[in-house]
């Protein structure tokens, strides 16, 4: 039976980062990926010769080169990836748009959002500054019980609408709780989005994944595709083997699973502890990808922006909708609108809305197709009111539902942000099994990768010294 010092389940960003970190220092590491492509939630597929990205709208946590303590630069050092290997393209500008046309714009310069808050709510300018100071000085990684971000925000800001507007992008880009979110998570995301900012690599997500894979392999790491895990072999309170669906057994010193907490416990088979409901996330989404001629951009409102976070619901609530999709709120992303990207003949408009997994799961195949058409139409009507009529120019369109996400990523119920109850320290009932990624509480692409790195540092590199 083959033996590895560590087996990592999942070749998504957290798994690849963990793998590079381990292989760098001489561990014999194997990554098992159940699909034929790597990337997990942030991957790609091709249709009609076009490479389409899944997941990635923008990377958060932008940092200029000299900022040594910024999460992005710390991450690159930990993986020994030079900044020269990636072209960093910063966002143009993004907008938070609420009903009545109220909007707040932001760029990668935090002063922009502060000015916008002062413009819309002159009486809140000082309060907002105090909130930013708090966020900057708060260590969100110190272990603490869940505390309400809304409550904390109400201590600082008087206007409920302003609180909702600030929360909306933070929530839709990574909150697995409904209605409210943990204050520590809020701090992580607020910094990542508003204080550090958004960027993307100049290439596609495939190029970025390939860069990570090259580093992993160069350090001696091994990857197996189409290798779904069925269960663990367990002795006492330790994983001894990882058993694949084809029956093959692999011996492992330690296991890092990025499959999500419920799925990971599922590998324990009969002996698995009962999972209480909070570990099953309820926030899932539909995403509509539209490909259009690049010339359309000039005709569109917000066509020169990177992301529009819109909400026309009154009152605003972040929740799983009662209907299959809530088209009144969502994200319109123009993934071509980043500085220094090579010019292209086509552009994309990606639209994301909260969706109801249970309803989508329950549709018959006929209903499913019909519902897809129905909701794409409803979505397009709302989006066209915001950006203008883009529909007549669509060259290609594709739609993901929560069921698609579940099928391709293994995230239970298509809950891309995982379980509302986070496993901050990555520990599980088994002494040498750790979880990383979505259910570990870090968010976004940089966050996912830092999660992989941190779990290795905390559990593998320190444990072997005991």
């Amino acid at each position: 039976m083959p033996h590895y010092d560590q087996v990592i389940i999942g070749a998504g960003l957290s798994g690849l980062a963990a793998g590079i970190r381990l292989a760098r220092f001489g561990s014999k590491v194997l990554i098992l990926e159940k699909h034929g492509v790597i990337g997990g939630l942030n991957s790609y597929y091709t249709r009609q010769g076009r490479l389409l990205e899944t997941g990635l709208h923008a990377m958060t946590n932008y940092a200029a080169p000299g900022l040594k303590h910024a999460p992005l630069n710390r991450l690159l050092r930990q993986l020994k990836i030079s900044r020269k290997e990636i072209s960093f393209c910063e966002q143009f500008r993004s907008t938070i748009l609420f009903s009545g046309g109220q909007s707040l714009g932001f760029t990668n310069d935090p002063a922009c959002l502060a000015d916008e808050v002062a413009r819309l709510y002159p009486g809140e300018a000082e309060n907002f500054k105090n909130l930013v100071d708090l966020v900057r000085n708060h260590d969100p990684f110190k272990p603490r019980p869940w505390s309400s971000a809304r409550e904390k925000l109400r201590e600082f800001l008087g206007d409920q609408r302003l609180i909702d507007m600030l929360l909306w992008p933070v929530m839709i880009y990574g909150n697995s709780n409904e209605h409210d979110m943990d204050f520590d998570q809020f701090v992580i995301m607020f910094s990542a989005l508003y204080l550090e900012g958004m960027f993307r690599p100049a290439g596609t997500i495939r190029d970025f994944l390939q860069l990570l894979l090259d580093h992993f392999r160069a350090a001696g790491g091994e990857l197996r595709l189409r290798a779904p895990v069925a269960r663990f072999g367990i002795e006492g309170a330790r994983v001894t083997t990882v058993v694949l669906e084809n029956g093959e057994e692999i011996s492992a010193g330690q296991v890092i699973s990025t499959a999500g907490y419920p799925a990971t416990l599922g590998f324990m088979g009969q002996g698995k502890p009962a999972i209480s409901a909070p570990y099953e996330g309820r926030m899932s989404f539909v995403e509509i990808i539209n490909v259009l001629p690049a010339s359309v951009r000039r005709e569109l409102q917000h066509g020169g922006e990177t992301i529009v976070f819109f909400n026309f619901d009154e009152p605003f609530d972040y929740r799983c909708p009662d209907e299959a999709v809530n088209v009144n709120c969502g994200v319109i992303c123009f993934p071509d609108n980043f500085h220094d990207l090579p010019p292209r003949e086509e552009m994309q408009i990606r639209v994301t809305h909260p969706a109801n997994y249970r309803l989508w799961r329950g549709f018959s195949p006929e209903e499913y197709s019909e519902q897809k058409r129905f909701w794409v139409e409803r979505s397009a009507a709302v989006v066209a009111e915001t950006i203008g009529n883009y529909r007549r120019n669509i060259l290609y369109q594709d739609v993901f539902t929560p069921v698609t996400v579940e099928r391709y990523t293994g995230k239970v119920h298509g809950a891309i942000y995982g379980s509302p109850a986070k496993i901050r320290d990555g520990r599980t009932p088994l002494a040498n099994l750790f979880v990383a990624g979505t259910d570990q509480g870090y968010l976004g692409i940089v966050g996912a990768m830092l999660s992989g790195v941190t779990m290795v540092n905390q559990h593998i590199f320190s444990e072997s010294q005991e």
């Binding site: 040594k68 710390r74 930990q78």
Partner: protein, 83 residues
């Protein structure tokens, strides 16, 4: 390895961790952390690199011994004498 060789290995490892660090200006008796503006994740890399190169296990309790270049050399000298 002698003291000079150990010092050079540490400098090489630091340069490897952060290509922007200016190791020429390092003062041997001052804390590395302040001079290099690195954090604990980076310092773990020094420990891991020493483990990888010389199979040297440095327990967490001894990390403070690696605070400055001079203390690193003092700490490592007896441990790397046969290398």
């Amino acid at each position: 390895m002698n003291r000079q060789e150990i010092r050079e290995v540490i400098l090489e490892i630091i340069q490897d961790i952060d290509e922007d660090s200016s190791i020429e200006q390092l003062k041997d008796d001052q804390p590395l952390r302040d001079q290099l503006d690195l954090d604990s994740m980076d310092f773990l890399d020094i420990v891991m690199e020493l483990r990888k190169r010389y199979k040297l296990q440095i327990p967490e309790a001894d990390y403070p011994e690696l605070a400055s270049l001079a203390s690193c050399v003092n700490y490592l000298e007896p441990r790397l004498q046969d290398v």
